[in-house]
Structures are given as C-alpha cells and as structure tokens.
C-alpha cells in the first residue's frame, strides 16, 4: 500500500500521543516540506456546516508552494490522494490531455498517442498499454468497443508514424478522428478514421436513443481550414462566396457500430446561422450597473441592436431638437418634449440603426467543445464568443435553441450541465490554457466559469462567475478547464481542472453563490519560468477522481468527508457506477435506493436546519436500527419511519427533500 497522508492521519495522531518528541521532529521534517495541510479537521463526526458558512483554510495553503516536476509542494483540502503515477517513458515530456473511461480502465490522451491504465486498485494504477500514434490533442472518447481519438496538429500521420509531416500539403496527414477497436484493450486495433477540414480539436459521442446500430460524433475544430489540395472539398471562403465553406459549421460523423471503418460525415450543420440577431453580445454586470446608474441619474438609455446604450448628451440634444421641430416649435425643449423623446426612443433608435446597413455576416465560425446531455435532449456548445444551447433530439441535426455572450468571456471553452438539466456552466479558456491567468492582478471574472439557469423555454439566464479562489504565480499556466459533476444527491457539485492552478471542487447548487469545498494544488513545474503543466481534465468515475496531469501523469483522489460534504453524501455518490464514461457525453446520475442515500438526505436536512434537531436525531436512530435489522423487521421499521418522515414534510423548510428521503425509505422497504 502506498503511504497516504490522510488515511494515516489517525496513525499520526497516535504517534503524537506515544512519542510526542519524535513525532514533532518528524512532522516538522516532513509535512511542511512537501504537503501543506490546513489544520481544519474533518472527521466523520465533524459538525455539518451550511454551505454559505464555509470556512476555508486561511492563509490559503496554495499560495507559495515550491516548484518541482515530481517533488513540488502540494496543498490538499478535503481530498485524499490515492496515487500519482508518472507517464510511461515514451510519453514523458509530451502533453497528457483528456480522459475517457471503460470498466476499470482509464484511457488518457497524450500528444504522442494514448495510454491505458488499469485502476482496479486506484492506489496503484498499472499500465496496460502506451499506444504511440502522435497527434494533438488526442482528445479521447469510448463507446463500447470503440475508442475515438482527435487529431488536429500538423504532425499527425495516417500511419501513426512519429516522424511528423513536413509538407504543408500531404496525403500522409491525419487531421480528424481516428477510430480504434478496443475489444481487446491490451491490443487496440486502428480500424479507420474520418478526415475533417479543420481537424478535430475535441469531439463528443452521441447515442441515438432510436438507433442501436450507429453512434454520432460531433467534431469541433478551431484550426484554420486545410488546403483543398490536401482534403478535397475543404473551402475557407465566407459563406456568401462559397456556400460549402468549412467555416461556420460543425461536423457530424455517423459511425456504424458493426463497421466502424465506414464512419463518415453525414451532416455539417450551420448552427451559427443568423446569430447576429439578438441576443447580441451581452454586457457584464459591471457594465449593466453603469447603465442602471446613468438611468437613475436621468440619462437617456436606449437599445441599439439589442443592447442598452447610454446616449451621449450631444445626441440627446440633437434628438430633442428634432422633437421640438416635429411639433412645430422652436427654442429650448420642454419637459413634455423630453417625455416624448423618452417614449419614442425605441422607435427612433430602431429607425436610425436600421440605416447603418452592416450586412456583413459573421458570428462564431466554430465550436471549441460541445457537451451532450442526451437525457434532456440538449447540448451545451462552447463556440468562440458564444455559449449555445442545442436541441440534439435528432442526433444528426442539432438545432440551436439559445445563445448567450458575455463581455468578460474571451473564449467559450466547454460546458457542464447540472444533473437536473436546469443549469449549465460554461468555462472561459482565456489565453488558450498556456498562459498564467490566475495571478492576483487578473480579474476574477476573466478566465472563469459562468453559471446560467435554463428556463422552461430553454433560455439561459446568467447568475454568477466562479474562478479558482487561490492566486497562482506567473510560472503557472492557469485558467478554467475541464471537469465533471460529482454525483452527490440533490446537490450540484463539480470537480474542475485549472491547469497549474490544480483542482477545485465547488458547490453551485445555489447558482448565484458557488462555493469551493475542496482542492488540490502543486507548485509550478519549473521555478524559473512558465512550463506547460497542470491538470488538463479531472473527472469523477465510480468513486474516485481521476486527474490527467499534463506533465506529471495520472493522479487518483478520493473525497474526504468534511463539514461541507458528509461521509454519507460521499457514500451515496459512490453507489453511482458506470461501465463507461465520456465527460462530454454527460450521463444522468440516478441513485438506487440505499441507506447511504437516505442518510445523505438526513445529513443535508441537518446541514440546512430544515428539520428540527429532534427529528434528525430520531430519524438517524431509526435508520440505524433498520439497517441493523433484516427481512420483515427491516421492512416494517422502514415503512413506519417513512410515514413519520412524510408527516414532517409539511413543517420542513425543504418538503421536497423530506419526501425524497421518505420515498428512499419506502423503496428500501420494498
């Protein structure tokens, strides 16, 4: 077993009691050197603390971590590291990228190919195969026995050779999606590929609920269009000059599962069409506040092309003169003129702006990544300056249903839905991931997440930003990156990569107030300069958090109970199991009835004080008794308890959760 700082905590405290002097010496020589541990305790008996009263370690131990490739200082909070495994030799020094999961295997993309790890024992992942087949970014997805790998860079070869492709136009180049048969995962077989005009920066796999024979791949590619001489049919003109342009569209590949080598592009939907119309580029909250302030001070605020604008005084004077003239008057405008202008302003502005005649068509010309959530029939498209909501119920024909923009967002990067599908979180990969955007002086709204609610009409409504709370150094590339939901019942909790900013776990159940509840961070790879590294992707999979570290390899963590996430809530999350996972093909989490689930609900009601202390204690006691009982006795205890709990719903501040608790008990009883 690997030594493990957290699980051995109890042992450490015993040592403390037994040999205080030695332990003190020891602890001095070890812990501060390598691991910065906040002193906040977090045992199973720790009191449950409301999420708006989170007390994070102060000073933040992530500040001032010393550098190192394999021996950087580390800071942990409410996470336990099970293992960190360096890349296999062939892949050392080459960027590790995204992750996909199948059974006990983790498939880790690398610009040199992909790596398969067996994590049956998460404290000691073992290498299954390191498959050399270079291409950036090697974004990976799994569907049953197929593995899909993205190629975008210029060096990717059809034959997986390592020599690159020297010519700007070459028939040896692969830019698109590679397909492997992994029915024997120890020996992946390269069965085919689909070339695309812009390569594949990322891709997402979509199952058609009405078709068991095919799956669909949405390809996002942001690189320039390939020359037509290399891939016939690729055009990079504007749509008005060439309707077949590879710009302003995504690609949809259809993969026949029985004959994956016949995979081909079946549609190139132009999901950006007419995006120029409102909703236009949105204003940031600060800018809206400026406008509200001006409005309160009596300024004339009009709407131009769907966006509020404070009118310049000179323009107001001009318009007022027009009003005076229109009523046949002269001289200074009166209060009535002013009122008339206010009333007619929308029409006046519409007439004026309509004459400006900017007909040139634009909008985003590609997406960076698309997260599919088939359960609700929607996808979140992160597409240059926009976050899109797509209807994907007809997999080959996605339709845009909403679009948002935000002046604080430089580059919309990826999306994650909450489990209920009534919220979506978009990331802003400001600077592309290679720049240090989490310094003290970098604004908190830039390179952050933006959280939106999704209304019944599928319209998105901005609620808040979330950015890694700990400032990072100029030697650490840092910006919002990939992550996934952790299946904590009834809460929206996400684990997310921030490159060298490390991993942040936060609760966004209240979309207006996201709160960090756990983290891990290392010092920079290089003390003297920015050297690409950090967490590319971290996803929850079957009870563990798996992290693809760009330079350092593969990390596996598990959650540690804290006042903000109880042991029962973690146990309930761990009941959710998958036999494969692609984070960009988001699965719906369902919790089978379990005592852990019931106890998690009780903990949550306790945390928010939505049941009386007495009811909580009583319910816990009876659940405990039911769990120890069996057969008919257990059934009767649970049924009686469920009835009792149902009666509490009316007086609880959270009737819905109380009813979920009761129904879990009934399910357990049956």
């Amino acid at each position: 077993m690997q030594p493990n700082k957290r699980s051995s905590k109890m042992m450490a405290s015993n040592l403390w009691l037994l040999v205080p002097a030695l332990a003190l010496l020891f602890s001095y020589g070890c812990t501060p050197k390598n691991v910065i541990q906040p002193s906040a305790s977090s045992s199973a008996s720790a009191p449950l603390v409301p999420i708006d009263e989170v007390n994070s370690p102060d000073p933040d131990p992530r500040i001032g971590l010393s550098a190192g490739l394999f021996d950087a200082d580390e800071a942990f909070w409410n996470l336990r590291m099970l293992s960190q495994t360096p890349p296999p030799e062939n892949f050392l020094g080459v960027t590790n990228s995204d992750l996909a999961f199948k059974d006990n295997y983790v498939i880790q993309g690398n610009y040199n190919g992909f790596i398969v790890w067996d994590i049956s024992d998460p404290s000691s992942p073992s290498l299954v195969i390191d498959f050399v087949c270079p291409a950036s970014q090697s974004d990976v997805s799994v569907y049953n026995d197929l593995l899909f790998v993205s190629g975008e860079g210029f060096g990717g070869r059809l034959d997986c050779g390592t020599e690159g492709v020297g010519e700007a136009v070459s028939e040896d180049r692969l830019r698109g999606v590679r397909i492997f048969d992994i029915s024997d995962i120890k020996e992946p077989e390269y069965v085919g590929n689909v070339q695309t005009c812009r390569g594949s920066h990322t891709h997402s796999v979509l199952e058609d609920p009405n078709d068991d024979d095919n799956v669909y791949i949405y390809v996002s590619g942001s690189a320039p269009v390939r020359p037509e001489e290399e891939l016939p049919g690729c055009a990079s003109a504007l749509p008005e000059d060439d309707p077949n342009t590879a710009l302003f569209r995504i690609e949809v590949i259809k993969v026949p599962l029985a004959q994956p080598e016949l995979a081909e592009i079946v549609n190139s939907p132009r999901i950006f069409d007419d995006l120029e119309a409102p909703p236009s580029h949105g204003l940031s909250p600060a800018e809206l506040a400026d406008i509200e302030k001006a409005r309160a001070e009596g300024a004339f605020v009009g709407e131009v092309n769907g966006q509020p604008r404070v009118l310049h005084l000179r323009m107001v004077e001009m318009l007022l003169d027009d009003v005076v003239e229109a009523r046949g008057g002269s001289g200074e405008p009166t209060a009535a003129d002013s009122a008339a202008l206010r009333e007619n302003l929308p029409q006046i502005l519409e007439d004026l702006s309509g004459t400006q005649g900017d007909t040139e068509r634009r909008g985003p010309d590609q997406c960076h990544d698309i997260t599919l959530y088939p359960e609700i029939g929607l996808a979140g498209g992160a597409c240059e300056g926009y976050g899109l909501l797509l209807d994907i119920r007809d997999p080959a024909n996605p339709q845009r249903v909403d679009a948002v923009a935000d002046s604080n967002f430089a580059y919309w990067h990826s999306a994650t839905f909450n489990n209920d599908g009534d919220k979506v979180l978009f990331t802003d990969e400001w600077g592309g991931g290679g720049q240090p955007k989490c310094r003290e002086e970098d604004p908190r709204e830039w390179g952050a997440n933006a959280i939106f609610t999704i209304g019944d009409d599928n319209k998105m409504d901005f609620k808040s930003y979330y950015k890694l709370p700990a400032p990072q150094t100029a030697e650490e590339n840092c910006v919002a990156h990939n992550g996934s939901l952790i299946p904590i019942p009834d809460r929206d909790i996400m684990v997310q990569s921030w490159y060298q900013g490390g991993i942040s776990i936060f609760d966004w159940t209240d979309p207006k107030n996201p709160v960090e509840i756990a983290y891990h961070d290392r010092g920079p790879v290089n003390p003297d300069r920015m050297q690409m590294g950090g967490s590319w992707s971290v996803y929850w999979y079957n009870g563990v958090l798996v992290n693809s570290e760009i330079a350092r390899g593969l990390d596996v963590f598990e959650l540690e109970p804290s006042p903000y996430l109880s042991e029962n809530e973690i146990a309930a999350a761990n009941t959710v199991k998958f036999d494969q996972l692609n984070a960009q093909g988001q699965p719906k989490y369902d919790w089978a009835p379990s005592f852990a689930l019931a106890k998690a609900y009780v903990d949550q009601l306790d945390r928010t004080k939505d049941l009386s202390e007495e009811s909580i204690t009583n319910t816990r006691q009876q659940l405990h008794e039911a769990e120890r009982a069996s057969g008919d006795e257990r059934r009767d205890l649970l049924t009686a308890l469920a009835e009792e709990v149902e009666d509490l719903a009316g007086t609880s501040g959270h009737a819905e959760k109380v009813n979920k608790l009761a129904s879990t008990m009934r399910d357990l009883a049956s």
Binding site: Q2, P3, N4, S8, K9, M11, A12, L15, V19, L22, L25, F26, G29, C30, T31, K33, N34, L69, F70, D71, E74, M81, S83, T85, P86, G93, V94, S123, S124, S136, G153, F154, G166, A168, S222, P224, P227, H281, L283, A286, E287, V304, R309, L352, R362, G363, P364, E384, G385, S407, A410, Y411, W430, G431, G432, G434, Q435, P436, M530, A551
Partner: protein
C-alpha cells in the same frame, strides 16, 4: 536531504505512513528503487523537453519575431483607451488586450530564447515602438512607421496611430474598434500564412501559440464587430 529524512523516518516506526513524501509516486515496478526511478524519469522528461525544441523552422522563428512587434502595436493602441475617453466596455476590452498580448509576447520571447534565437525586446515610448534584438548585437530596428513593419498585415501606419491618439470619446471608441479589428485580422492572416508553409508549426508550442492567437483574435474580432455595431455613427 532525502536520505537524512528517510533515515529519520525509519527510526520512527510508521513515519512514512504519516507523511506524503516524494516516495509516494507510484510506479508499477518494484518498490525498491523508486526514488532512483523518479530522478531518471525527471532526467528523461527534461531531455525530451529540450529535444522537442530542436524541431522548428525559420518560418516559425520569423512568425514569433514578427508577431512580437505586431502585438506590441496592439499594446500602444490599447493604452490610449483610458486617456482618450473610452467608456467602461472599451476600457475593459483594451485592458484585456493588454493583459493577453503582454503574456503572449512573453511566451513568444521565451519560445525564441529556448531555441537560441534572437529575442526582440519591446520598448514603447508614447506612440513609438522600438525593438531591440537582445541575443544578437543590440540591433536597432528603429521606429515603427511606414518603412518598417507595415509589411505585416493589419499594422497601422504611424499616421493612423497619430489619428487614433488624437481621437476622443465616441469617436475614439469607433476608430479604436475599426483599427483593432483590422489589426487582429492581420494577426489571423499571419497565422494562416505560417500554417501554409512546409514544415512550419510542427513544433507543439509553436502550433499552440499560433492556434491560440488565431482563435482568440477571431473571437475578439467578432466581439468588436458587435461593439462597433452598437456604436452607430448617429
């Protein structure tokens, strides 16, 4: 340091269990020589990083060198925004351009330094840009004007810079947006040109830098077009 630490730990029974040490790195091999393996791995890592920096072409170097000058002019333009009466939105845009392009200049300089190529240092005095090539003979590239860098797409002439510096308020905002769109378009063209040259951008860092510049600026062009649209010349 480590051996002292290791010895101390051995004497304290379960010492190793209580701390996260560098020995925690797990490998699938036997546990005996992990520390040795780790330093070997680290050596391989840095050697591979070094060797990856040998794979570049003159076109990559020219791109980095040129783009540093190109970015520097965007800094000159953006720094005018607070003084010239730009509103919050344009000031925010300008601040972000400064932040982004400053960092990218540093990355491109680092890229050149890593490959022992001359590294242009940027000096800005008002509207004048001077670039010194540090690694060579302090070659003075002189003032940025028609005769110098305007061969790069999207670069403003010194007269245009002057015009921008004299504009105020809404007039400045519109001119700034128009010129910056043109300037960004030039950067996008430079990336496309780079990508069309045999052997160019094979280097991972060059591809990443050029791609990031391309997508960031395409996105920002669209954003600025929206901003220009609502700043109709009423």
């Amino acid at each position: 340091m480590y051996s002292f630490f290791y010895a101390a730990v051995l004497t304290i029974l379960f010492g190793m269990m209580a701390c996260k040490s560098s020995d925690q790195l797990s490998t699938s091999g036997p546990a005996t020589s992990k520390e040795h393996d780790k330093s070997d791995l680290e050596a391989i890592y840095w050697a591979r990083i070094d060797s990856s920096r040998l794979n570049f072409t003159q076109a990559d170097t020219d791109f980095m060198t040129g783009m540093i000058g190109h970015h520097a002019q965007a800094l000159i333009m953006s720094r005018l925004a607070p003084e010239n009466g730009a509103g919050t939105e344009i000031q925010t845009l300008a601040a972000r351009i400064i932040n982004a392009q400053d960092d990218e200049i540093a990355s491109m300089q680092q890229w050149l330094r890593d490959r022992d190529q001359p590294v242009p240092e940027v000096h800005i005095e008002g509207l004048n840009l001077m670039m010194h090539s540090g690694s060579n003979d302090d070659h003075h590239l002189g003032h940025m004007d028609h005769s110098d860098h305007t061969d790069m797409p999207g670069m403003l002439s010194q007269d245009q810079l002057q015009e921008l510096s004299e504009a105020r308020d809404s007039h400045f905002e519109r001119l700034f947006l128009r010129y910056m769109i043109e300037h960004h378009n030039g950067a996008v063209i430079m990336v496309k040109e780079l990508f069309s040259i045999d052997g160019a951008a094979q280097d991972e860092e060059a591809f990443r830098l050029a791609s990031d510049i391309q997508v960031d600026q395409i996105t920002e062009i669209e954003r600025m077009r929206q901003m220009l649209k609502v700043r109709v010349d009423l």
